[in-house]
């Protein structure tokens, strides 16, 4: 049996699944000050009377890191940059406690200015004196050559006793120095607290005699073994929406294009599954105001939901964006879409008379019937959701591309399905689908789709290999791995074979070796380097990924 537990904003949902069916589900209210406690009480409720030996796999999602960042409770970190020539680091708006070192690496990974070791020492002493215990060292093009990051990190560690140092190239191998800097800082800023959480989970499971492997869900819908995830805590942000999307993938496997609509009390989360593949945000997640390299599904949160406040502005009805409390029919303070649904007979939640009164009050001011008001409220909600869905498709179509064929061949996609998950979705999804010309689908187990998604999501993993045959070198930044590449005329196929081999090794190291065969080349490029009029070498880049997917044990896909 597989366990999935998704910690959401209001409730923590848990399921026990076996052979493509939900064997049992449970939920507890989320207590943000005691995430561990509510995770464990959901687990205990779920596993009551179930032998721990029958449990084969446990997957958790957590809002721990999301909340730490949102509440500004991350640990103080000194961000030490080696920016070299280019932008003024101030223009990156990376916040306080930024320290700048001399030294530069260029786009080919060549050293163009030496690291000034005595400056590193004096900066380290200063950081130690200020009292920093956590330091992120990030160099521009450090992913193409990490000697400066390694050396600076080593000096800082030797000068400041007991300091934790995180290096940029280990966090991401992709281009984008400010995102790498922000992600590296968040990583070191959340590591201790996350490790503590992971240890507590491990201990608690041990107490319960659950010896099944434990995984954590990431923003890209993938899982990682809990003990490996301690090196990359930031990847656990935004795992709630990821859980819902993976739930839809598990419950209705298809190669069609679908919109996933998760309508909650105050917000509606929208996501796209394009030709069967969930859309990732193109460069990485935005965490508050910080742009990061964290791979995440492209999720749009729209400030509208079942409890959005309905107000009258002249002749117009406005819905949201704020919430004043539950619906009037649920004993709340002001009229909401939930009341409108009740009046139209589209739901049977709450007190019918209270809902009728909520709409009647507005109807009097607008000289129409309560039913007409209710219809207008629902139309406003549906319009808003539909316009945001269209905007998401438009943004996807407008994503820049850098090759002729990508621009010429990019097809236009239309939604074929609108899939509703979450509480308020049921009555509204057919209306949204109708306006989009798509089929409305409420999958079986929709209310716990998120927990199912967590339970059956498989691991994901990324690897960036770069080969420069003119310099005779290859590098895998995330692994801190470099080596010789002596074949001047290496072709893309050979580079991809090499990437696959390295991916196998990386997957084994991560404890997810059995999924290595699922890895796909998601990006590759090859450039001949011509100097004068002759070819002197090649630049090859291969990105390999184990993409989001469902484990075979689910038995449905």
């Amino acid at each position: 049996m597989l366990i999935g537990i998704d910690v959401g904003g209001t409730t923590t949902d848990a399921v026990l699944v076996e052979g493509g069916r939900v064997f049992r589900s449970a939920y507890v209210p989320t207590d943000h000050d005691n995430l561990l406690g509510c995770l464990l009480s959901a687990l205990d409720k779920l596993t009551e009377g179930v032998s721990p030996y029958k449990i084969e796999r446990v997957v958790l999602s957590t809002t721990l890191i999301t909340n730490m960042i949102a509440e500004g409770k991350t640990d103080p970190v000194a961000l030490v940059l080696i920016p070299g020539p280019g932008a003024n680091p101030k223009d990156y708006h990376l916040g306080q406690d930024v320290f700048i070192l001399d030294g530069a690496i260029d786009y080919r990974g060549r050293e163009i200015q030496k690291l000034n070791e005595s400056q590193v020492k004096s900066t380290a002493l200063e950081l130690g004196n200020i009292g920093f215990k956590k330091i992120a060292v990030v160099g521009k093009f450090g992913q193409r050559n990490h000697v400066h990051e390694l050396k600076a990190g080593e000096i800082v560690a030797s000068v400041v006793p007991g300091v934790q140092v995180e290096l940029g190239h280990r966090v991401s191998g992709q281009l984008n120095f400010p995102r790498r800097a922000a992600t590296t800082r968040l990583t070191v800023a959340t590591k201790d607290r996350y490790r503590e959480f992971a240890d507590q989970i491990n201990a608690a499971l041990k107490n319960r005699k659950i010896s099944a492997p434990v995984f954590i869900l990431k923003a890209d819908g993938g899982t990682l073994p809990l003990d490996k995830s301690v090196n990359m805590p930031v990847e656990t942000i935004f795992s709630g929406p990821a859980a819902s999307i993976m739930g839809v993938m598990a419950l209705m496997p298809t190669t069609q294009t679908s919109v996933v609509v998760d309508i909650g009390g105050t917000t509606t989360d929208l996501a796209l599954i394009l030709s069967g593949k969930p859309l990732l945000s193109s460069k990485g997640a935005r965490v508050n105001s910080l742009l990061t390299h964290v791979r995440a599904f492209a999720v749009k949160s729209v400030a509208i939901g079942g409890d959005s406040a309905v107000s009258v502005n002249g002749d117009c009805i406005a819905v949201g964006p704020h919430r004043e409390g539950p619906a009037l029919c649920m004993g709340g303070p002001c009229p909401t879409p939930t009341d409108a649904l009740r009046v139209l007979g589209m739901s049977d939640i709450g007190d019918a008379a209270a809902a009728e009164k909520a709409m009647a009050d507005i109807a009097k001011r607008l000289c129409c019937t309560p039913k007409e008001v209710a219809q207008k409220v629902i139309d406003a909600v549906v319009d808003k959701i539909v316009s945001h869905v269209n905007e998401m498709f438009r943004e996807w179509e407008q994503e820049p591309a850098y090759r002729v064929w990508e621009i010429v061949k990019k097809e236009k996609l239309l939604a074929q399905n609108v899939v509703g998950v979450g509480g308020a979705a049921q009555p509204l999804v057919p209306l949204v689908a109708q306006m989009l010309g798509a089929k409305a689908v409420i999958p079986e187990y929709a209310p716990v789709a998120n927990a199912i998604g967590a339970a059956v999501a498989r691991p994901t993993l990324t690897l960036n290999l770069r080969i420069d045959t003119e310099r005779g070198e290859y590098i895998v930044a995330e692994e801190g791995l470099t080596g010789r590449a002596d074949r001047k005329n290496m072709n893309l196929e050979q580079a991809e074979q090499m990437a696959r081999k390295l991916m196998n090794e990386r997957a084994n190291k991560m404890g997810i070796g059995e999924y290595a065969n699922e890895a796909e080349v998601t990006y590759s490029e090859i450039f001949n380097m011509v100097r004068g009029w002759s070819t002197v070498g090649r630049l090859l880049d291969v990105r390999m990924e184990i993409p989001a997917g469902i484990i075979p044990a689910w038995g449905r896909c």
């Binding site: 920016p83 020539p85 280019g86 932008a87 003024n88 101030k90 223009d91 990156y92 530069a104 260029d106 786009y107 080919r108 163009i112 200015q113 521009k140 093009f141 281009l175 984008n176 120095f177 400010p178 995102r179 460069k283 742009l291 407008q398 994503e399 820049p400 591309a401 850098y402 090759r403 002729v404 064929w405 621009i407 010429v408 490029e525 450039f527 001949n528 380097m529 011509v530 009029w533 002759s534 070819t535 630049l539």
Partner: protein, 457 residues
Amino acid sequence: MAAKDTSNKTGKTGLIFFPAFDWAISPTHPEREERLLYTRDQIFEEGLMDLPEIEEYKPRLATPKDISRVHFCVPNVEAQVTEAHLIAAGSVLTLADAKEEGAIRNGFALVRPPGHHSMMVVHGNRGFCNINNMAIMVEYFRTRYGHKKIAIVDTDVHHGDGTQDIFWHDPDVLFISFHQDGRTLYPGSGFPNEMGGPQALGRTLNIPLPPGTTDEGIHYVLDNFILPVLKDFKPDLVLNSAGQDNHYTDPLANMRFSANGYARLNEKLAPDLCVLEGGYAIETALPYVNTGIIQAMAGLDYSHVREPDYVPGKFVQSAEMKRDIEATIGQLQEIWDNRDRLVEDALAEHGQFYRRRKRIFYDTDMINEGQEETVRLCDRCHGYMTIASQAQKGYGILNSAFCVSLPRNACTSCREDAREEFEEHKEDSKFNYVYLQDKQKDTYHSYETRTRNQRDY
């Protein structure tokens, strides 16, 4: 609707980066896949696209009509352009729309292939260019948005002879090109005495600079001539044909301009839109120059952009070079100051029609073209123009074409005469193709004499 203010200083800088990573003239040609690779690495690593000051756009494809507004493509547009050209030209149009809609304050089309050596008639590729992105943008701005006066400053190291040719007779387009002296560099033209057709004298200004000209020299030209002339001309828009081959490491030219010099130039010039032209020091210049230009346009600090081997004071301008440049500027100042009298005198001298013969060499495609160009010097409009063109490749005739162009402000008489020229030449077996470019009605016609097949855009 809110009042549109396109002159505000707070708007964003629009950027289209289209490196055409799958397009090359030939595998080892300077205009190959690799050209903007290191620029990509640098500007992506800098995270420039993420900055709130910058908005990245996706290009659209230009249409044959957009291209026909400028060019007579022989035999047709499809034969002269690849999809890469349509995307590069479409990029400038996308930015033109964003600028007009007020979505951006200024913009930079960092795209290839380039365009400024493409002339009005196109038989093939010359100077790495097939169609002129800058000119296509200018005509689009005028047709779609009704702009009248536009200034183009060509900051590429090579003379922008294609752009010059296209706007030669147009008094409403000010074309200024500074470049390495044509006696020492392709295409061998661009001297002060090339100053426009009889009705547009002084609206083409060529500033040849001695090889080895430094930041100091170019900024002298900018401060003492280009900026004051722009102030006099009062254009609706200032556009920069932003080549980057004045750089001291460019392999195809011999100037000594730096990345900082280029950034400062764009800060002072404050162009509404920039379009990339040449620049072939793909590792040592382009990553730094492009970063600097983007920063300068976006109002960001560019002082940290520096080539690895650059130190301030690396190049010093000699006294002789200074005198040389000052003398050229003196000569041009006189042309500019006397432009209206020059036009008056020329019109008095030429009578009803002005004719000139041209020979054009297409270095990439090894084509020789002979043209006879005739413009009516009309006192009610800019006058219609005809070009009889014959292109030779090797010892054989490649194609011949008769082209008729009607200006946007054409008078009835010019309209009628132009139409007549078009119809008459359809029966003329000397020409394979006959064209009518009607900018007034924004309609474009091409006719193949052998098949009697007409196409209209």
